[in-house]
């Protein structure tokens, strides 16, 4: 080996040892805040957790948060049922008919919507739905969350549908498939695993949203009896309790935070497992 080669080789060997160590350190650094948050919430929240926390609503003596837990799940499920199909349809339309004026309008509004602070979404839904129906309701809250989800789902779907190779579209068209069937049964199906994880991220994102719910689902000390009643959620209940000077309620808020974080993590893990299972066949 020439001396130059020798030194270049030594340099590379050094780099090969330093690089993994550096990236490992970066991973630790990135995970640190996550674990710190979780550990802090867990240590404060665990103390106030009890069986009644999960079985009794806020409004009962010795209270729990069963109604808020139920409300959070209820709103996320409802919001997903509204936001995901609409978002996927819009994203697919964007990808497949990109040059039409309608597509340009949809893309523009998705971009704007993605940039709107979520509290404004709450205000708008308040004006459009709550004022008109003359009450706060689970439906209004879910609608607000759906609006927050919509641009996320739309853009993910758009991007992933675009990544589907044109050769597959051509294969379908050459088999005599109409454009819309090609979009639904070839493009959407091929992009489905990615779209599924994108949707789950959107779900995880809105399951912690508080601002859009303040003037829409509002709050409720008991279980909501119908979708047209005001509805409690963990996040709004945390907000309400922390605004009080009551130590018991602070402890309850920590416990609620722990449940919420756990819920989001469980959702993520379940989702990922689902996707992995799907992909492995």
């Amino acid at each position: 080996m020439t001396p130059e080669l020798e030194s270049a080789y030594r340099g590379r060997k050094l780099a090969a040892r330093v690089a993994p160590a550096a990236s490992g350190a970066a991973v630790v650094l990135a995970l640190l805040p996550l674990f710190a948050v979780f550990a802090y919430v867990a240590s404060h929240g665990a103390r106030a957790l009890s069986l009644t926390f999960f079985t009794e609503p806020v409004g009962v003596r010795g209270a729990g948060m069963a109604n808020a837990i139920f409300g959070t799940i209820e709103l996320v499920v409802l919001a997903s049922a509204m936001g995901i199909p609409l978002g996927i349809a819009a994203g697919l339309y964007l990808a497949e008919y990109a040059s039409t004026p309608l597509a340009r309008a949809v893309r523009f509004s998705a971009d704007v919507l993605a940039g709107v602070p979520s509290i404004l979404v709450g205000v708008v839904v308040y004006a459009v739905v709550v004022v008109r129906m003359k009450q706060f309701s689970a439906l209004a809250g879910a609608a607000a969350l759906a609006v927050v989800m919509l641009p996320l789902v739309t853009r993910t779907t758009d991007e992933l549908a675009r990544a589907v190779p044109d050769s597959l579209r051509e294969a379908a068209l050459a088999l005599g498939a109409p454009r819309w069937r090609t979009a639904l049964f070839v493009v959407l199906r091929t992009a489905a695993p990615g779209i599924r994880s994108g949707c789950l991220l959107a779900v995880a994102r809105v399951s912690g949203e508080t601002a859009p719910l303040l003037f829409t689902a509002y709050n409720n000390r008991f279980f909501n009896e119908s979708l047209l009643d005001p509805t409690s959620t963990l996040q709004v209940q945390i907000f309400t309790y922390t605004m009080t000077p009551n130590d018991d309620w602070h402890a309850q808020a920590w416990a609620a935070a722990l449940v919420l974080v756990t819920l989001v993590i469980v959702l993520n893990v379940l989702a990922r497992r689902l996707v992995a299972e799907e992909e492995s066949g």
Binding site: S99, P165, S167, L168, E170, A171, A172, L173, A174, L175, G176, A177, P178, R181, T182, F185, V186, R189, T190, A192, G281
Partner: protein, 270 residues
Amino acid sequence: MNDSVDRLRARGARVEAVEASAKMSAAELSAWFGDKQALRSITLPLIERKVTAIIGPSGCGKSTFIRCLNRMHEVVAGARATGDVLLDGKSVYGADVDPVRVRRRVGMVFQKPNPFPTMSVRDNVLAGLRLSGIDPPDTDALVEEVLGQAALWDEVKDALDRPGGALSGGQQQRLCIARCLALEPEVVLMDEPCSSLDPIATAKIEELIHDLRDRYTIVVVTHSMQQAARVSDYTAFFYLGELVEYDHADVIFTKPSDPRTEDYITGRFG
């Protein structure tokens, strides 16, 4: 009906009753991508139940030509075509003709195998029907039949539920041929079907083309002179978007009349 055929007649070539036996024909077909003209007034018959090979240097318009035959050309943004293409004597570009119907009668196999990767082998075979909204009654029999026609059945009969993307390249291409045959097309267009395949897979596909000619009218684009000579009954030589020469394959490969054809088939082309 057409120049090149008239020229052939004038030379006393042995093209028999071409008009009567053409399943499809292009008449003064020109095609553009935006401002760029890719085909210049092509007039060419495709004889029923025969194999027509299209040869010519890269970029001469071979793919564009066959894509005009099943109206796939217009799928490309900014692409358009003038002139006409007849299928059983009727224009496929008529105002009342749905391109979807044309494509079901005129099937296409692409240069790069493009099975649907997330669908199983079985679903790939049935994809054409399902995408047209048809649920065939006896799917198992159909799958076996067309995979058999595509000389793939023995290799995949135990793997029908594996994803189409998990086959080898040659198997994927035969799967694409099976997928095309499942629609019972009348014409099959193949754009360099062997270009990504090894010699063994190529031989299988050539054999397959040979077997299919009894039932289908076949057009094969190829870069391989040997392949064109082996599989085709008629051969058309394209150059710079024009049809230079069309004749029986043996005539093209033994005594072509245009010096450009001769240069190309003898490999003297710059």
